[in-house]
Amino acid sequence: MRKFQKSAVLEIASGLLVIYAALWLGRWLGELSGNLLPASIMGMLLLTTALQLRWVKLAWVERTANQFVRWMSLLFVPISIGLVEHIETLLQALPAMLVTCAFATLILLVVIGKLYQHWELKSDSNNTQQSAVNEDAK
């Protein structure tokens, strides 16, 4: 039991170290590139690259990353509550904003989802046909 806890703490600590290192490097690279992408997204791409190149082992970050992803929704709560500061502006523009944001978003969601799924199914069926042809050729 004690051994398990010790390794869990180590895994969380090493994960935090790697993630914050990626974020810090991402911030630096972001500034160098004239803020083309924000630090966090730059850091995400750096982490993926480092894992791919085996500079970072998956075991070092997996546990911490899973927890971050699991609780990510919670992290949006305080920022969202910041809207109380803009409540007057918000109330003025609210009807137009709500209608636009809701409808445009839902339409977009369905268009992208349908488009990609259609493409995916088409290429899958092509592949199956292709492999069927290959089977026949054998």
């Binding site: 850091g43 791919q52 709560v77 969202s80 636009t100």
Partner: protein, 225 residues
């Protein structure tokens, strides 16, 4: 001292809302929306300044950046599969970004919004830090943009998955890409709860749509002026 209590209160409310949602398995009862509604009403009713609330609760916002970095792990796990699909993912998202910007501006003008508000809404599907920069670039109002981004994310997080399923989109990859492109990090956070593959495609879509929108917004928005 009392300012400190808002932090555990926020976390406790969120966990309670999450249990509530799972107990009754109703997707639209989104924990973020429930927690947000209760706290906003409480702050307004008790006249508590946001600065007081945010003094300690703001620590949670500081964890958003590392959380986005952490999405690199699901992205890496799916990378092998994603590589072969990258061209069609990129084309889908490029088209989607153009549709997102033009449909939003057109719809906003149609319901009577001023050109400034319409321009502020244009980058609504992009993650906040980039959306605010784009908004300045197209002569919008960044504070309005931040709120529009939030509303968009909440709409996606609350009804996104049920709507996709209702319209027959069941593929986890298509769902991930749709949520990441249309509803940025909040949508990605929601869809990542469904599984690693959903999360990986969501994270990739988040990055690509932010980049494409930053390039396309200054080209498309002036067309409506």
């Amino acid at each position: 001292m009392i300012n400190f209590l808002y932090l555990p209160l926020t976390i406790a409310l969120f966990i309670a809302a999450k249990h509530f949602q799972q107990r009754f398995s109703v997707t639209w009862l989104n924990p973020v929306l429930i927690t947000l509604t209760i706290l906003v009403i409480a702050l307004l009713a008790l006249d508590i300044p946001f600065a007081d609330y945010n003094q300690y609760s703001g620590w949670l916002s500081k964890l958003l950046e590392p959380a986005v970095v952490a999405l690199g792990v699901p992205l890496y796990k799916q990378l092998y599969e994603i590589k072969s699909e990258l061209p069609r993912i990129a084309i889908t998202i490029l088209v989607a970004a153009a549709v997102a910007i033009s449909s939003t501006v057109a719809m906003a003008l149609m319901v009577g919004a001023s050109p400034k508000i319409a321009a502020s809404l244009a980058p609504k599907s992009v993650t906040t830090p980039i959306a605010v920069l784009i908004s300045e670039q197209v002569a919008g109002e960044p504070a309005l943009t931040a709120i529009a981004v939030l509303i968009t994310g909440l709409v996606g997080a609350v009804v996104g998955i049920p709507v996709l399923k209702l319209c027959g989109v069941h593929s986890s990859k298509a769902q991930g890409i749709a949520m990441g492109t249309a509803c940025h990090a909040l949508g990605t956070a929601r869809i990542a709860e469904e599984g690693h593959q959903h999360g990986a495609y969501g994270a990739l879509a988040l990055v690509l749509s932010a980049t494409f929108s930053a390039l396309l917004c200054p080209l498309i928005v002036p067309l409506f002026a």
